[in-house]
Symmetry: C2
């Protein structure tokens, strides 16, 4: 059975927490403590973990190593996924320069831009290609995820080429609404202006909830 999206989101945060704990050599942690650290109710943490399947009969907190492995397997965080950046303006260049923190799981295999000038002047170890090569390169390099940072006008065309090449997940930073008929493509749009508006509207609510 497939996990509910809210559970997936929380489990990704649990995963990050556990990775930090492992670095600090902690060997186990209780649902209560996970809850406090991440500001989630302990009930919910346990439900989420149980949705993953049986972890074993330990009754004194969850073993960090086992739980990491379980989440990795169930959420498919174990196998590497090829990543690319489309649009090498200021934002795209930041991704090129600072992607180190994700290269273990998401090797950055390609950057694309429509301007030949940019392709020639940007100094990076990531292979760069012209915009028209997207489908071909994505297919050849087996890239399944993309970060979109193009100008608005190119966003939809880029999406189509990415999907045609085999990309199945896109982080859309262009502030444009992307269309894709396909039912197996996931798009996460992030737009600062929209987020500011949401925050503004939330201020009028009495108490604050967490924004996912």
């Amino acid at each position: 059975m497939s996990l509910p999206i809210p559970s997936i989101k929380r489990l990704c945060r649990v995963y990050e927490l556990l990775s930090e704990l492992r670095r600090a050599n902690r060997s186990s942690i209780s649902s209560t403590e996970i809850g406090q650290s991440l500001q989630i109710k302990a009930h919910t943490v346990r439900k989420d973990i149980n949705l993953l399947g049986k972890i074993g009969p330990s009754r004194s907190g969850y073993p960090v190593d086992k739980l990491i492995k379980l989440i990795q397997e169930r959420l498919q965080l174990c196998e590497k996924k090829g990543l690319c950046v489309v649009g090498l303006g200021p934002v795209g260049q930041i991704v090129l320069r600072y992607y180190d923190f994700l290269k273990d799981s998401y090797p950055l295999l390609a950057g694309f831009d429509q301007s030949i000038n940019r392709l020639e002047t940007i100094n990076t170890t990531v292979p760069l290609y012209p915009f028209h090569a997207i489908t071909e390169v994505v297919q050849a390099e087996d890239i399944s995820l993309a970060i979109l940072t193009t100008v608005r006008e190119l966003a939809q065309k880029a999406t189509e080429r990415l999907v045609r090449g085999g990309v199945r997940g896109i982080i859309n930073l262009t502030g444009t609404l992307l269309h894709s008929n396909r039912q197996d493509v996931w798009i996460k749009s992030i737009d600062l202006r929209e987020e500011l508006r949401i925050l503004t509207a939330c201020l009028t609510k009495g108490r604050s909830g967490r924004l996912e």
Copy 2:
């Protein structure tokens, strides 16, 4: 009555769509068409709009102008909110340089960094201040929103100073979990690594839903 968060999010997107329509001189639009444009069910669009209050008895689509005004009022998008950026590394500098697209509603009143060197070398019309001045400046300039882009180590301290000065909404781009006891402070955390993991996990689900 206060709106549910999912409705707030959708209405912000409707608002953006309506703004575009107004620029194109459209005078009315139906819930069906809004739904198609934003990939929301028409039912839901109407429910959301009705939550705002009575808009009037027109039965041939919603009048664009009236609806914009109604959303603005109810979501408090009308009055300006002072904004600041904390942390002037690569990401913070992008906000400084490209914030134009939001300055109408969110004037950027201050930038903060802990490095005096940065404060002196960055070329911008936005007033820059040292890290320790956060509380004071936020209060003096009546700033209510902040974009956080500091290094991890400073994120929590920055948050405390911002909140003490009067900030009530924070977009957190630091990849750190922020704590705030206060019930009237809203925090939206955006973290590329987490988003990539969520996308990865979603790929294992059969059909794609929209990620909010």
